[in-house]
């Protein structure tokens, strides 16, 4: 779960990290009220879950009311990489002399948290990491102990941060780590952490992403959730509880188990087709879930044919067949051709139940995919 900048800043500020004065606004009038309070220059920042907001025109600095009105009007309602901007953070501009980067994330390879500090803040840190890996000081943390204070200092000095602000930056990093742990975050990040001419430090941006699997122990964070989807289908998948990713092709794909569904996508591509989506119905799916999955894929207007590939372990072929029948029997005419392949647990029972007037059946994965690709081509042309 991703927190918006304004939400993450609240969390950071509560923990004692300095942030600029700011107001949230959803209309141009609110923006004008807000700039009056925070003063000029004021940053007007789109609150959407996309990277590179600045470059995409989602962040502008207004130096007077005129500009504030103009930028508010530009940004509110704009489409930013597929997301509509419905709120902006209006924030006092910071007069900085330096921009730093601090962050904590899980190093999945090591299975250990890693704290990071760089003098090269204010730009895409992944670009820095590729261009000049040594510009980012990294300190791995033993998750049983948590971050020792010396580790924060070490990361800060290793990054070459000025001695005048080093202590403050180290203490922000310590706080960030503690938040990362306390809130079950996957990433926390301040980029840029600004240094003013007076040697003060201020978090000018704030990123906090929380491990979805740990939300059960953070009801306060769960409340902050704002479901935003790039499109209607992803919203629907969220409601149905499917692992779903929309792609640009025309062969709809449904299967059980991430690895097998990915493989089905790959085979569609391998046999000359183009996958329209990734949709994993998970383990042990019952008929209703199968019906919902078909509903999802039929709702995607790009889809010209569907391949339904189940290898039953805890998922039972008869349940799947039942679900397919139920989903398709409601139509006078089947919207798109559906190719079904059932294997594993109760596959035989499933095949007996399956209404083969409504679907096409193949017995191997390779055959099923090839047939779906062919059908999609037919429908498309």
């Amino acid at each position: 779960m991703k927190l918006h900048e304004y939400q993450a800043k609240d969390v950071f500020a509560d923990a004692g990290i300095p942030v600029p004065e700011s107001r949230l606004a959803t209309t141009v009038d609110e923006v004008l009220d807000a700039v009056e309070e925070v003063g000029f220059p004021a940053a007007i920042k789109a609150q959407v879950h996309v990277g590179g907001r600045g470059k995409a025109g989602g962040i502008k600095i207004a130096t007077d009311e005129e500009e504030a009105r103009e930028y508010a009007d530009d940004i509110l309602g704009m489409d930013l990489k597929g997301f509509t901007v419905d709120k902006v953070l209006v924030e006092a501009g910071v007069d900085f002399v330096d921009e730093l980067y601090v962050g904590v994330t899980m190093d999945r390879g090591e299975g250990e948290p890693v704290a990071m500090v760089s003098e090269q803040g204010g730009v895409d840190i992944e670009a820095v990491a590729e261009r000049d890996p040594d510009a980012i000081a990294r300190e791995h943390v033993d998750p049983a102990f948590g971050m020792h204070p010396y580790q924060a200092r070490k990361a800060v000095y290793d990054a070459g941060i000025d001695r005048d602000v080093a202590g403050d930056v180290a203490s922000v990093l310590t706080t960030l780590y503690d938040l990362w742990e306390e809130k079950d975050a996957s990433d926390v990040e301040i980029n840029p952490l600004m240094v003013t001419a007076e040697g003060e430090i201020v978090a000018a941006d704030a990123v906090m992403n929380v491990d979805d699997d740990a939300l059960f122990r953070h009801p306060d964070l769960t409340e902050l959730r704002e479901e935003t989807y790039e499109d209607e289908l992803e919203r629907k998948a969220g409601e149905y509880g499917f692992d779903y990713v929309r792609l640009s092709g025309n062969v709809g794909i449904i299967g059980n188990g991430a690895g097998l569904v990915m493989t089905t996508l790959d085979l569609v591509d391998y046999y000359g087709g183009s996958p329209a989506n990734f949709l994993d119905i998970g383990g042990g799916a019952k008929a209703e879930r199968v019906t919902n999955a078909l509903d999802m894929v039929f709702s995607d207007e790009n889809v010209d044919a569907v391949v339904f590939n189940i290898f039953g372990g805890i998922t039972r072929g008869d349940e799947v067949a039942k679900g397919i029948n139920e989903a398709l029997e409601q139509f006078d005419e089947i919207p798109k051709p559906v190719v079904v392949r059932l294997a594993g647990t109760n596959a035989g029972e499933g095949m007996e139940i399956l209404n083969t007037d409504l679907v096409e059946v193949e017995s191997t994965l390779e055959d099923a995919v090839q047939r779906a690709v062919a059908r999609a081509e037919e429908v498309a042309t």
Partner: protein
């Protein structure tokens, strides 16, 4: 011979009184697995599917001389269940639970480095030595005994490949589902090491997927230390960057690490042919035998 589990493995089922735990305990027993105890706090003294239940893993292990456990405990309590098993006389812990918080797993991984116990999973289908024992949720009927070792990050993909193998008469020594989470107990390298040391395993299938660098590390390991031939499969060639493909671990990062291409190249460089389809993988294995 086989790897990690066999006829003599004595299994505790953690969470045996729950729906999942009870169902799969029964399935394991039916398959012939030597399930000797259940462990559920507060349920000591009960019996489930003819198996005595104890309040703690320690007591179960001590009383029933168990050496392996399978964890069917809800995500909120799964890490604690793993710690309990890791700190007990158990030698092998298989965690089936999906959705364990990542920070919990980082702590479990730290503990793992301090003990001799092996963990498989979490978020995995388990491990099976066909005809002897299965610990987990794998459908026993598709496996057959033979000379191919299999290790995979994915459950159903494993079944697909096994089905191909079995239908061509190629049996398995042991199949290990290592799980699709970013932080897991047993890695590809660990599993490959076990198969390499197993005299009966004559060829190995390794099913990887996008995300992380485990496959690349495995390729390194194969190139340096292995004689047993390996055939590979990598799922997720068509996955776009930044999108999580089901498994928490299956994601190509924005900076382009974890791609199928990188993994396939690494494996090819290590002399491991990577199939375009599961069927092709079976072809490679057939050539090895």
């Amino acid at each position: 011979m086989s790897v990690l589990v066999g006829d003599d493995t004595r299994v505790v089922v953690q969470g045996i009184t729950g729906g999942e735990g009870g169902f799969h305990a029964e399935q394991m027993i039916e398959y012939g697995t030597n399930v000797v105890a259940g462990a559920v706090p507060g349920k000591g003294g009960q019996e489930v599917h003819g198996v005595p239940v104890y309040d703690t893993v320690h007591e179960a292990a001590r009383r029933e001389d168990a050496d392996a456990s399978v964890v069917f405990v809800p995500p909120a309590f799964a890490a604690d269940a793993m710690f309990e098993a890791l700190d007990s006389p158990i030698d092998l812990v298989v965690a089936i639970t999906e959705g364990v918080p990542t920070q919990d797993m980082a702590k479990v991984k730290k503990r793992l480095s301090e003990v001799d116990t092996r963990l498989i999973g979490p978020n995995c289908p388990g491990i099976i030595t066909p005809g002897e024992a299965k610990l987990g949720i794998l459908p026993g009927n598709i496996f057959s005994s033979g000379n191919v070792g299999l290790v995979s990050r994915s459950g159903t993909l494993t079944y697909q490949v096994v089905d191909n193998l079995t239908s061509r008469g190629i049996g398995q020594t042991t199949a290990i589902g290592i799980g699709g989470d970013p932080i897991i107990g047993t890695t590809f390298v660990d599993a490959l090491e076990l198969f390499e040391a197993d005299e009966e395993t004559e060829a190995i299938v390794m099913c990887g997927e996008i995300g992380g660098e485990d496959e690349e590390e495995a390729a390194n390991y194969i190139a340096q230390y292995m004689d047993t031939p390996v055939a590979g499969f990598i799922a997720g060639r068509t996955a776009p960057p930044g999108k999580r493909m089901g498994h928490a671990g299956a994601i190509v990062s924005g900076s382009g690490t974890g791609t199928a291409e990188s993994k396939i190249d690494a494996l090819n460089d290590a002399g491991v042919p990577v199939g375009d389809t599961p069927e092709q993988v079976t072809d490679y294995v057939e050539e090895y035998l």
